[in-house]
Symmetry: C2
Subunit: 216 residues, 2 copies
DNA sequence: TAAAAAATTTAGACTAATCTAAAAAAATAA
DNA sequence: TTATTTTTTTAGATTAGTCTAAATTTTTTA
Protein backbone atom coordinates (compact mmCIF):
# COMPACT_ATOMS: atom_id res chain seq x y z
CA UNK A 1 0.00 0.00 0.00
CA UNK A 2 0.99 3.63 -0.36
CA UNK A 3 1.43 6.24 2.32
CA UNK A 4 -1.02 9.05 2.86
CA UNK A 5 1.48 11.56 1.43
CA UNK A 6 1.97 9.46 -1.70
CA UNK A 7 -1.77 9.22 -2.24
CA UNK A 8 -2.16 12.97 -1.93
CA UNK A 9 0.59 13.58 -4.48
CA UNK A 10 -0.97 11.14 -6.95
CA UNK A 11 -4.36 12.78 -6.59
CA UNK A 12 -2.90 16.27 -7.04
CA UNK A 13 -0.99 15.17 -10.14
CA UNK A 14 -4.13 13.56 -11.53
CA UNK A 15 -6.12 16.77 -11.18
CA UNK A 16 -3.32 18.94 -12.58
CA UNK A 17 -2.95 16.76 -15.65
CA UNK A 18 -6.66 16.09 -16.15
CA UNK A 19 -6.75 18.46 -19.14
CA UNK A 20 -3.18 19.46 -19.99
CA UNK A 21 -0.19 17.19 -20.32
CA UNK A 22 2.35 17.58 -17.49
CA UNK A 23 2.23 18.90 -13.94
CA UNK A 24 5.14 21.12 -12.87
CA UNK A 25 6.95 20.91 -9.54
CA UNK A 26 5.65 24.35 -8.53
CA UNK A 27 2.06 23.55 -9.48
CA UNK A 28 2.15 20.44 -7.33
CA UNK A 29 3.77 22.33 -4.45
CA UNK A 30 1.13 25.01 -4.49
CA UNK A 31 -1.77 22.58 -4.75
CA UNK A 32 -0.44 20.63 -1.74
CA UNK A 33 0.67 23.66 0.25
CA UNK A 34 4.23 22.46 0.42
CA UNK A 35 7.62 23.51 -0.91
CA UNK A 36 9.09 22.72 -4.32
CA UNK A 37 12.06 20.92 -2.75
CA UNK A 38 9.72 18.57 -0.89
CA UNK A 39 7.92 17.87 -4.14
CA UNK A 40 11.15 16.98 -5.93
CA UNK A 41 11.96 14.44 -3.23
CA UNK A 42 8.56 12.83 -3.49
CA UNK A 43 8.62 12.79 -7.29
CA UNK A 44 11.76 10.69 -7.17
CA UNK A 45 10.10 8.27 -4.84
CA UNK A 46 6.96 7.98 -6.96
CA UNK A 47 9.07 7.55 -10.08
CA UNK A 48 11.03 4.74 -8.37
CA UNK A 49 7.71 3.04 -7.70
CA UNK A 50 6.78 3.50 -11.37
CA UNK A 51 3.67 5.53 -10.49
CA UNK A 52 4.73 8.63 -12.43
CA UNK A 53 6.82 9.52 -15.46
CA UNK A 54 9.42 12.00 -14.27
CA UNK A 55 12.17 13.73 -16.19
CA UNK A 56 14.00 16.31 -14.05
CA UNK A 57 12.95 19.88 -14.93
CA UNK A 58 10.24 18.62 -17.29
CA UNK A 59 7.33 17.98 -14.95
CA UNK A 60 5.43 14.73 -14.49
CA UNK A 61 2.39 12.72 -15.44
CA UNK A 62 0.88 9.51 -14.13
CA UNK A 63 1.69 6.04 -15.38
CA UNK A 64 -1.29 3.69 -15.83
CA UNK A 65 -0.74 2.23 -12.36
CA UNK A 66 -0.43 5.70 -10.83
CA UNK A 67 -3.64 6.76 -12.53
CA UNK A 68 -5.42 3.69 -11.26
CA UNK A 69 -4.49 4.58 -7.69
CA UNK A 70 -5.50 8.21 -8.19
CA UNK A 71 -8.88 7.21 -9.59
CA UNK A 72 -9.41 4.88 -6.64
CA UNK A 73 -8.87 7.77 -4.25
CA UNK A 74 -11.13 10.08 -6.22
CA UNK A 75 -13.80 7.37 -6.25
CA UNK A 76 -13.59 7.11 -2.47
CA UNK A 77 -13.64 10.86 -2.01
CA UNK A 78 -16.77 11.31 -4.09
CA UNK A 79 -18.64 8.34 -2.67
CA UNK A 80 -17.99 9.55 0.89
CA UNK A 81 -19.14 13.03 -0.08
CA UNK A 82 -22.34 11.52 -1.45
CA UNK A 83 -22.80 9.52 1.74
CA UNK A 84 -22.26 12.56 3.95
CA UNK A 85 -24.81 14.64 2.07
CA UNK A 86 -27.43 12.01 1.25
CA UNK A 87 -27.33 9.89 4.41
CA UNK A 88 -25.96 12.15 7.13
CA UNK A 89 -27.58 15.37 5.89
CA UNK A 90 -24.46 17.47 5.64
CA UNK A 91 -24.61 20.49 3.34
CA UNK A 92 -22.60 20.39 0.10
CA UNK A 93 -20.28 23.08 1.41
CA UNK A 94 -19.35 21.06 4.53
CA UNK A 95 -18.12 17.78 3.10
CA UNK A 96 -14.92 18.43 1.21
CA UNK A 97 -12.46 18.38 4.11
CA UNK A 98 -14.17 15.40 5.72
CA UNK A 99 -13.99 13.40 2.51
CA UNK A 100 -10.35 14.43 2.18
CA UNK A 101 -9.72 12.40 5.34
CA UNK A 102 -12.06 9.51 4.55
CA UNK A 103 -10.68 8.93 1.05
CA UNK A 104 -7.60 7.32 2.62
CA UNK A 105 -9.45 4.46 4.27
CA UNK A 106 -7.91 1.62 2.40
CA UNK A 107 -10.49 -1.15 2.02
CA UNK A 108 -11.77 -1.72 -1.51
CA UNK A 109 -14.51 -3.96 -0.23
CA UNK A 110 -15.77 -1.24 2.09
CA UNK A 111 -16.06 1.28 -0.69
CA UNK A 112 -17.74 -1.18 -3.05
CA UNK A 113 -20.32 -2.02 -0.38
CA UNK A 114 -20.85 1.66 0.34
CA UNK A 115 -21.41 2.20 -3.38
CA UNK A 116 -24.01 -0.56 -3.42
CA UNK A 117 -25.64 0.71 -0.20
CA UNK A 118 -26.23 4.08 -1.84
CA UNK A 119 -27.47 2.63 -5.13
CA UNK A 120 -24.41 3.25 -7.31
CA UNK A 121 -24.61 7.05 -7.58
CA UNK A 122 -22.98 8.51 -10.69
CA UNK A 123 -22.23 12.02 -9.43
CA UNK A 124 -21.18 13.55 -6.12
CA UNK A 125 -22.98 16.51 -4.49
CA UNK A 126 -20.91 18.98 -6.52
CA UNK A 127 -21.76 17.32 -9.81
CA UNK A 128 -18.42 15.57 -10.26
CA UNK A 129 -18.66 12.09 -11.79
CA UNK A 130 -17.94 9.11 -9.53
CA UNK A 131 -15.60 6.51 -11.07
CA UNK A 132 -16.97 2.96 -10.88
CA UNK A 133 -15.02 0.11 -9.32
CA UNK A 134 -12.97 -0.17 -12.51
CA UNK A 135 -12.14 3.52 -12.54
CA UNK A 136 -14.49 4.33 -15.40
CA UNK A 137 -16.91 7.28 -15.53
CA UNK A 138 -18.69 9.36 -18.16
CA UNK A 139 -17.28 12.78 -18.87
CA UNK A 140 -20.27 14.65 -20.18
CA UNK A 141 -19.21 17.93 -21.73
CA UNK A 142 -19.77 20.79 -19.30
CA UNK A 143 -19.13 24.45 -20.06
CA UNK A 144 -18.47 27.32 -17.69
CA UNK A 145 -21.29 29.85 -17.87
CA UNK A 146 -18.73 32.41 -18.99
CA UNK A 147 -18.36 30.48 -22.25
CA UNK A 148 -22.05 30.51 -23.17
CA UNK A 149 -23.85 33.01 -25.39
CA UNK A 150 -26.99 35.04 -24.67
CA UNK A 151 -30.36 33.26 -24.67
CA UNK A 152 -28.88 29.83 -24.21
CA UNK A 153 -30.51 27.48 -21.70
CA UNK A 154 -28.91 24.76 -19.62
CA UNK A 155 -28.81 22.87 -16.36
CA UNK A 156 -26.30 23.68 -13.63
CA UNK A 157 -24.22 20.52 -13.43
CA UNK A 158 -20.92 21.23 -11.75
CA UNK A 159 -18.53 23.64 -10.07
CA UNK A 160 -14.87 24.33 -10.65
CA UNK A 161 -14.23 25.61 -7.16
CA UNK A 162 -15.14 23.58 -4.08
CA UNK A 163 -14.52 26.21 -1.40
CA UNK A 164 -17.34 26.52 1.10
CA UNK A 165 -17.57 30.28 0.55
CA UNK A 166 -18.28 29.76 -3.13
CA UNK A 167 -20.80 26.98 -2.50
CA UNK A 168 -22.56 29.02 0.18
CA UNK A 169 -22.84 31.94 -2.22
CA UNK A 170 -24.41 29.66 -4.83
CA UNK A 171 -26.89 28.39 -2.21
CA UNK A 172 -27.90 31.95 -1.41
CA UNK A 173 -28.44 32.74 -5.09
CA UNK A 174 -30.30 29.45 -5.56
CA UNK A 175 -27.82 28.37 -8.18
CA UNK A 176 -27.43 24.71 -7.23
CA UNK A 177 -26.86 21.45 -9.08
CA UNK A 178 -29.86 20.56 -11.23
CA UNK A 179 -31.29 24.09 -11.60
CA UNK A 180 -32.47 25.03 -15.08
CA UNK A 181 -31.16 28.42 -16.10
CA UNK A 182 -31.08 30.78 -19.08
CA UNK A 183 -28.38 33.35 -19.83
CA UNK A 184 -30.31 36.56 -20.47
CA UNK A 185 -27.55 39.16 -20.67
CA UNK A 186 -23.79 39.61 -20.60
CA UNK A 187 -22.50 42.97 -19.36
CA UNK A 188 -19.84 44.17 -21.73
CA UNK A 189 -18.02 46.35 -19.19
CA UNK A 190 -17.01 43.65 -16.68
CA UNK A 191 -18.30 40.43 -18.27
CA UNK A 192 -20.89 39.87 -15.54
CA UNK A 193 -23.62 37.48 -16.60
CA UNK A 194 -27.33 37.89 -15.97
CA UNK A 195 -29.03 34.57 -15.40
CA UNK A 196 -32.71 33.63 -15.25
CA UNK A 197 -33.29 30.94 -12.61
CA UNK A 198 -36.79 29.83 -11.73
CA UNK A 199 -38.84 32.96 -11.31
CA UNK A 200 -36.02 35.40 -10.67
CA UNK A 201 -33.01 36.96 -12.33
CA UNK A 202 -29.58 37.15 -10.72
CA UNK A 203 -26.40 38.80 -11.87
CA UNK A 204 -23.15 36.93 -11.32
CA UNK A 205 -19.57 38.14 -11.75
CA UNK A 206 -17.23 36.82 -14.43
CA UNK A 207 -15.35 35.03 -11.66
CA UNK A 208 -18.49 33.15 -10.61
CA UNK A 209 -19.49 32.48 -14.21
CA UNK A 210 -16.07 30.95 -14.78
CA UNK A 211 -16.52 28.49 -11.94
CA UNK A 212 -20.09 27.40 -12.53
CA UNK A 213 -20.58 24.67 -15.14
CA UNK A 214 -23.69 23.90 -17.14
CA UNK A 215 -24.89 21.15 -19.44
CA UNK A 216 -26.55 22.58 -22.53
CA UNK B 1 -5.34 17.24 17.73
CA UNK B 2 -3.34 14.10 18.48
CA UNK B 3 -1.42 11.93 16.09
CA UNK B 4 -2.56 8.48 15.05
CA UNK B 5 0.17 6.87 17.18
CA UNK B 6 -0.84 8.86 20.25
CA UNK B 7 -4.47 7.85 19.81
CA UNK B 8 -3.50 4.19 19.56
CA UNK B 9 -1.44 4.40 22.74
CA UNK B 10 -4.28 6.08 24.65
CA UNK B 11 -6.74 3.45 23.51
CA UNK B 12 -4.39 0.61 24.45
CA UNK B 13 -3.79 2.12 27.90
CA UNK B 14 -7.53 2.55 28.38
CA UNK B 15 -8.20 -1.12 27.67
CA UNK B 16 -5.27 -2.31 29.80
CA UNK B 17 -6.43 -0.28 32.79
CA UNK B 18 -10.15 -0.86 32.32
CA UNK B 19 -10.22 -3.24 35.27
CA UNK B 20 -6.84 -3.10 37.03
CA UNK B 21 -4.95 0.00 38.02
CA UNK B 22 -1.81 0.61 35.94
CA UNK B 23 -0.58 -0.50 32.53
CA UNK B 24 3.06 -1.59 32.30
CA UNK B 25 5.46 -0.68 29.53
CA UNK B 26 5.67 -4.28 28.37
CA UNK B 27 1.89 -4.75 28.35
CA UNK B 28 1.52 -1.67 26.16
CA UNK B 29 4.33 -2.81 23.88
CA UNK B 30 2.78 -6.20 23.35
CA UNK B 31 -0.72 -4.86 22.76
CA UNK B 32 0.62 -2.45 20.12
CA UNK B 33 3.13 -4.86 18.58
CA UNK B 34 6.01 -2.57 19.27
CA UNK B 35 9.11 -2.51 21.46
CA UNK B 36 9.34 -1.44 25.10
CA UNK B 37 11.82 1.29 24.26
CA UNK B 38 9.41 2.84 21.77
CA UNK B 39 6.73 2.76 24.43
CA UNK B 40 8.92 4.58 26.95
CA UNK B 41 9.50 7.37 24.43
CA UNK B 42 5.81 7.76 23.77
CA UNK B 43 4.89 7.64 27.44
CA UNK B 44 7.10 10.67 28.04
CA UNK B 45 5.37 12.51 25.26
CA UNK B 46 1.88 11.67 26.52
CA UNK B 47 2.90 12.61 30.06
CA UNK B 48 4.17 15.99 28.78
CA UNK B 49 0.76 16.52 27.23
CA UNK B 50 -0.86 15.62 30.57
CA UNK B 51 -2.79 12.74 29.01
CA UNK B 52 -1.30 10.06 31.28
CA UNK B 53 0.14 9.78 34.79
CA UNK B 54 3.61 8.35 34.38
CA UNK B 55 6.21 7.53 36.99
CA UNK B 56 9.25 5.76 35.49
CA UNK B 57 9.26 2.01 36.20
CA UNK B 58 5.79 2.22 37.75
CA UNK B 59 3.50 1.98 34.74
CA UNK B 60 0.82 4.46 33.70
CA UNK B 61 -2.85 5.31 33.79
CA UNK B 62 -4.93 7.90 31.99
CA UNK B 63 -5.66 11.38 33.28
CA UNK B 64 -9.26 12.60 32.86
CA UNK B 65 -8.36 14.33 29.58
CA UNK B 66 -6.56 11.22 28.33
CA UNK B 67 -9.55 9.08 29.20
CA UNK B 68 -11.87 11.47 27.40
CA UNK B 69 -9.84 11.10 24.22
CA UNK B 70 -9.67 7.30 24.59
CA UNK B 71 -13.43 7.07 25.05
CA UNK B 72 -13.94 9.23 21.98
CA UNK B 73 -11.89 6.80 19.91
CA UNK B 74 -13.69 3.78 21.34
CA UNK B 75 -17.01 5.45 20.59
CA UNK B 76 -15.96 5.93 16.98
CA UNK B 77 -14.64 2.40 16.68
CA UNK B 78 -17.86 0.84 17.93
CA UNK B 79 -20.19 3.09 15.95
CA UNK B 80 -18.31 2.33 12.74
CA UNK B 81 -18.44 -1.40 13.53
CA UNK B 82 -22.18 -1.09 13.99
CA UNK B 83 -22.46 0.80 10.69
CA UNK B 84 -20.42 -1.80 8.82
CA UNK B 85 -22.52 -4.69 10.09
CA UNK B 86 -25.98 -3.11 10.11
CA UNK B 87 -25.79 -0.94 7.00
CA UNK B 88 -23.13 -2.50 4.80
CA UNK B 89 -23.84 -6.13 5.73
CA UNK B 90 -20.37 -7.09 6.83
CA UNK B 91 -20.08 -10.08 9.17
CA UNK B 92 -19.10 -9.44 12.80
CA UNK B 93 -15.75 -11.15 12.23
CA UNK B 94 -14.82 -8.82 9.37
CA UNK B 95 -15.13 -5.38 10.91
CA UNK B 96 -12.48 -5.01 13.58
CA UNK B 97 -9.54 -4.03 11.39
CA UNK B 98 -11.66 -1.74 9.26
CA UNK B 99 -12.97 0.09 12.32
CA UNK B 100 -9.41 0.31 13.60
CA UNK B 101 -8.72 2.56 10.63
CA UNK B 102 -12.01 4.48 10.67
CA UNK B 103 -11.82 5.34 14.37
CA UNK B 104 -9.17 7.93 13.57
CA UNK B 105 -11.38 10.10 11.38
CA UNK B 106 -11.39 13.21 13.46
CA UNK B 107 -14.75 14.94 13.06
CA UNK B 108 -16.99 14.89 16.14
CA UNK B 109 -19.90 16.16 14.10
CA UNK B 110 -19.55 13.29 11.65
CA UNK B 111 -19.68 10.69 14.38
CA UNK B 112 -22.62 12.33 16.13
CA UNK B 113 -24.57 12.41 12.87
CA UNK B 114 -23.65 8.79 12.19
CA UNK B 115 -24.92 7.93 15.69
CA UNK B 116 -28.21 9.67 14.94
CA UNK B 117 -28.47 8.07 11.47
CA UNK B 118 -28.29 4.63 13.06
CA UNK B 119 -30.74 5.44 15.87
CA UNK B 120 -28.28 5.76 18.76
CA UNK B 121 -27.28 2.12 19.14
CA UNK B 122 -26.09 1.14 22.62
CA UNK B 123 -23.92 -1.86 21.73
CA UNK B 124 -21.64 -2.79 18.88
CA UNK B 125 -21.88 -6.10 16.97
CA UNK B 126 -19.68 -7.83 19.56
CA UNK B 127 -21.83 -6.71 22.47
CA UNK B 128 -19.49 -3.97 23.67
CA UNK B 129 -21.25 -0.84 24.93
CA UNK B 130 -21.02 2.31 22.79
CA UNK B 131 -20.15 5.46 24.76
CA UNK B 132 -22.54 8.35 24.08
CA UNK B 133 -21.30 11.76 22.94
CA UNK B 134 -20.33 12.56 26.53
CA UNK B 135 -18.36 9.35 26.92
CA UNK B 136 -20.95 7.68 29.14
CA UNK B 137 -22.20 4.11 28.78
CA UNK B 138 -23.79 1.45 30.97
CA UNK B 139 -21.57 -1.35 32.14
CA UNK B 140 -23.98 -4.16 32.74
CA UNK B 141 -22.31 -6.95 34.66
CA UNK B 142 -21.25 -9.73 32.29
CA UNK B 143 -19.63 -12.99 33.34
CA UNK B 144 -17.48 -15.36 31.33
CA UNK B 145 -19.24 -18.68 30.92
CA UNK B 146 -16.33 -20.29 32.76
CA UNK B 147 -17.46 -18.50 35.93
CA UNK B 148 -21.03 -19.80 35.87
CA UNK B 149 -22.38 -22.86 37.71
CA UNK B 150 -24.37 -25.77 36.33
CA UNK B 151 -28.02 -25.23 35.41
CA UNK B 152 -27.71 -21.45 35.19
CA UNK B 153 -29.37 -19.70 32.24
CA UNK B 154 -28.29 -16.52 30.51
CA UNK B 155 -28.03 -14.56 27.28
CA UNK B 156 -24.79 -14.37 25.29
CA UNK B 157 -23.90 -10.70 25.48
CA UNK B 158 -20.26 -10.20 24.73
CA UNK B 159 -16.86 -11.58 23.78
CA UNK B 160 -13.45 -11.01 25.29
CA UNK B 161 -11.55 -11.89 22.13
CA UNK B 162 -12.29 -10.13 18.84
CA UNK B 163 -10.20 -12.28 16.53
CA UNK B 164 -12.01 -13.43 13.43
CA UNK B 165 -11.11 -17.06 14.05
CA UNK B 166 -12.86 -16.97 17.42
CA UNK B 167 -15.92 -15.18 16.05
CA UNK B 168 -16.16 -17.56 13.09
CA UNK B 169 -16.03 -20.50 15.49
CA UNK B 170 -18.89 -18.99 17.51
CA UNK B 171 -20.91 -18.52 14.32
CA UNK B 172 -20.44 -22.16 13.45
CA UNK B 173 -21.59 -23.26 16.91
CA UNK B 174 -24.50 -20.81 16.75
CA UNK B 175 -23.25 -19.06 19.85
CA UNK B 176 -23.89 -15.44 18.86
CA UNK B 177 -24.91 -12.27 20.66
CA UNK B 178 -28.48 -12.52 21.95
CA UNK B 179 -28.67 -16.35 22.12
CA UNK B 180 -30.32 -17.77 25.24
CA UNK B 181 -28.25 -20.56 26.70
CA UNK B 182 -28.11 -22.87 29.70
CA UNK B 183 -24.98 -24.43 31.22
CA UNK B 184 -25.83 -28.13 31.50
CA UNK B 185 -22.51 -29.64 32.49
CA UNK B 186 -18.92 -28.83 33.37
CA UNK B 187 -16.33 -31.49 32.64
CA UNK B 188 -14.10 -31.85 35.66
CA UNK B 189 -11.11 -33.18 33.74
CA UNK B 190 -10.45 -30.19 31.42
CA UNK B 191 -13.09 -27.66 32.52
CA UNK B 192 -14.94 -27.89 29.21
CA UNK B 193 -18.48 -26.59 29.45
CA UNK B 194 -21.57 -28.18 27.94
CA UNK B 195 -24.07 -25.60 26.83
CA UNK B 196 -27.70 -25.93 25.72
CA UNK B 197 -28.45 -23.51 22.90
CA UNK B 198 -31.80 -23.58 21.14
CA UNK B 199 -32.51 -27.19 20.37
CA UNK B 200 -28.97 -28.54 20.54
CA UNK B 201 -26.14 -29.05 22.96
CA UNK B 202 -22.55 -28.01 22.28
CA UNK B 203 -19.40 -28.55 24.24
CA UNK B 204 -16.93 -25.70 24.44
CA UNK B 205 -13.39 -25.64 25.79
CA UNK B 206 -12.36 -23.76 28.91
CA UNK B 207 -10.58 -21.30 26.61
CA UNK B 208 -13.79 -20.54 24.74
CA UNK B 209 -15.82 -20.39 27.97
CA UNK B 210 -13.35 -17.83 29.27
CA UNK B 211 -13.88 -15.56 26.31
CA UNK B 212 -17.64 -15.75 25.96
CA UNK B 213 -19.65 -13.46 28.23
CA UNK B 214 -23.24 -13.86 29.36
CA UNK B 215 -25.81 -11.77 31.18
CA UNK B 216 -27.62 -13.82 33.81
C1' DT C 1 19.53 -10.25 51.72
C1' DA C 2 22.56 -11.11 47.97
C1' DA C 3 22.46 -12.98 43.25
C1' DA C 4 19.89 -13.79 39.17
C1' DA C 5 16.19 -12.68 36.21
C1' DA C 6 12.92 -9.63 34.34
C1' DA C 7 11.33 -5.14 33.24
C1' DT C 8 12.32 -0.58 31.98
C1' DT C 9 14.93 3.24 30.43
C1' DT C 10 18.76 5.49 27.92
C1' DA C 11 21.82 6.11 24.00
C1' DG C 12 22.40 6.27 19.44
C1' DA C 13 20.73 5.21 14.80
C1' DC C 14 17.18 4.90 10.98
C1' DT C 15 13.11 6.23 7.82
C1' DA C 16 9.51 9.21 5.87
C1' DA C 17 8.32 13.60 5.09
C1' DT C 18 9.23 17.95 5.55
C1' DC C 19 12.04 22.52 5.65
C1' DT C 20 15.68 26.48 4.39
C1' DA C 21 19.42 27.97 1.73
C1' DA C 22 22.40 27.41 -2.04
C1' DA C 23 23.40 25.67 -6.65
C1' DA C 24 22.03 24.51 -11.23
C1' DA C 25 19.07 24.50 -15.24
C1' DA C 26 15.56 26.54 -18.17
C1' DA C 27 12.90 30.35 -19.77
C1' DT C 28 12.51 35.20 -20.76
C1' DA C 29 13.97 39.67 -22.06
C1' DA C 30 16.95 43.24 -23.49
C1' DT D 1 22.87 35.93 -27.63
C1' DT D 2 24.02 37.39 -23.32
C1' DA D 3 22.05 38.75 -18.87
C1' DT D 4 18.31 38.37 -15.79
C1' DT D 5 14.57 36.02 -13.79
C1' DT D 6 12.13 31.96 -12.72
C1' DT D 7 11.93 27.20 -11.86
C1' DT D 8 13.84 23.16 -10.19
C1' DT D 9 17.11 20.40 -7.84
C1' DT D 10 20.64 19.41 -4.31
C1' DA D 11 22.63 19.66 0.27
C1' DG D 12 22.04 19.49 4.86
C1' DA D 13 18.97 19.83 8.89
C1' DT D 14 14.59 18.70 11.62
C1' DT D 15 10.64 16.01 13.63
C1' DA D 16 7.81 11.88 14.81
C1' DG D 17 8.03 7.36 15.48
C1' DT D 18 10.44 3.49 15.48
C1' DC D 19 14.47 0.19 16.29
C1' DT D 20 18.75 -2.44 18.61
C1' DA D 21 21.96 -2.75 22.15
C1' DA D 22 23.55 -1.37 26.50
C1' DA D 23 22.67 0.36 31.08
C1' DT D 24 19.77 0.72 35.00
C1' DT D 25 16.09 -0.37 38.16
C1' DT D 26 12.86 -3.54 40.13
C1' DT D 27 11.37 -8.06 41.24
C1' DT D 28 12.10 -12.74 42.21
C1' DT D 29 14.41 -16.49 44.13
C1' DA D 30 17.48 -19.11 46.60
Amino acid sequence: MNTLAEENYLKAIYHLTENDGNASTNQIASSLNTKASSVTDMLKKLADKALINYTPYQGVNLTPSGEKIALGIIRKHRLWEYFLVEKLNFKWDQVHDLAEEMEHISSEELIDRLDQFMGYPTHDPHGDPIPDCNGRFNTHELKPISAVTINQCGVISGVRNHSSSFLQYLDKQQLTIGCKIMITDIIEYDHSVVVQTGNKEVQISREVANNLLIAL
